[in-house]
Symmetry: C2
Subunit: 244 residues, 2 copies
């Protein structure tokens, strides 16, 4: 999964995925405007395998995360705040080489290793099928991404919250699903036709809290929170290490 090369960045004038809008409004009589993007709500699922006593996560290369790190490697040595479109457009591909950072204004740059773009996440998906319940959408993601076939009725709602409140503000609903090896019907990995390249990884229960708070392991807040939710709410049922 971690072989990434031939990287090229260009400004994006027309995107099927990122569509900025501007809203003008009055707040307590003051005229304001705000740029935002539309997106779908989403669901995520904390999966616990009761056979192996492991959490089931997905691990994938996230271009947006990788580009963040590239940006930092590029700007931090000079402590500059300016980030120009030209700079991004000019940046051409090159072999990544850890520890080296590109000089500003060069037409080719050293890229961070691909591992800098990898994140551990909960199984998740967009709420883009209006005929389906949140539970049914979550069920499909568990099947497609992680290979477990569980009925929607087995999904327990944990909570919901807002994400990206400055830009998208979408609502995310989190579920908990217990699965067993008997529910495993495929290797998962996502839908190749959708360009997904997902690795299914297991985190043993006794390592979960250490995993959650280890900042060297890049992950989403959903992973951290849900592990701790499990720790607080499922510990009467399953033993979990508490040495944090």
């Amino acid at each position: 999964m971690e072989e990434i090369n031939n990287i090229e960045v260009v400004p994006c004038t027309e995107s099927d995925y990122l569509k900025p809008f501007r809203v003008h409004y009055n707040q307590n009589g003051t005229k304001k405007s705000w740029d935002f993007m539309r997106t779908h709500d989403s669901v995520s699922v904390l999966i616990f395998n009761t056979t192996s006593h492991c959490f089931v996560l997905v691990k994938q290369f996230r271009p947006a995360v990788y580009m963040c790190e590239w940006e930092k490697a590029k700007t931090q040595p000079k402590q500059t705040t300016e980030k120009t479109e030209e700079g991004a457009a000019e940046a051409a591909s090159s072999e990544s080489k850890e520890g080296q950072s590109p000089s500003e204004g060069e037409s080719s740059s050293q890229w961070p290793p691909a591992s800098e773009g990898i994140t551990y996440e909960l199984c998740a998906g967009l709420v883009d099928k209006p005929d389906l319940s949140l539970e049914e959408i979550a069920r499909q993601e568990v099947l497609e991404e992680c290979g477990y076939d569980v009925p929607a009725s087995k999904l327990k709602r944990i909570t919901s919250y807002r994400s990206g409140v400055g830009v998208t503000g979408a609502k995310q609903t989190m579920f908990y699903a217990e699965v067993s090896d008997d529910n495993c019907v495929s290797t998962g990995g996502g839908e190749p036709c959708e360009g997904e390249l997902i690795e299914v990884v297991k985190v043993p229960l006794h390592e979960a809290m250490t995993f959650a708070y280890d900042e060297r392991i890049p992950k989403t807040m959903g992973v951290i929170f849900s592990f701790i939710w499990f720790h607080n709410n499922m510990s009467p049922k399953y033993k979990i290490s508490t040495n944090v």
Copy 2:
């Protein structure tokens, strides 16, 4: 804070805040591309007032959240998935009226009440000052948004994680700050010149867990997680209700 009117939505072709880029790359020999946006990393702070035994949060109107709800009110009655730019551009302001949803294609629409765009969040800010440490940036946000003057050395790092992994992938670092009424030097509320209109709210310790899991209160995952982190890690020091 909650008087919002004269709302108008237009497509946004040029934004100082949202700049989409496209990255082309090879992943294991397969050509791919991804649209992403650059953004700054951010810091957030769980503030606990040891005088009043309250958490200090910020509450604000978030246009992106509001527009999500408007979109849903518009599309859900007909269970349609199509969201057209024209529809958004045509939508003109009108008095909000709860429970009513606009017909599609109308040039004016009923808008949800302003309360639909309100969220409770941790005190937070962008890491856009390269000369300052994360702790120093967090300290400034605590002062500007919430009015407490605490030294950066009193900020305890909780953890860090990735947010918006599909679009921005920025790194968020969360801190914990104990303050007392003696540290309170202003009412906070953000920087008016930056267009911030922030209400500082207190959540009593004994209500925190109920607040965290009450889905009727719109909030970010950072609020939920940090309240539970406090519950797990500070409970020997402060009593907290555990009836969840």
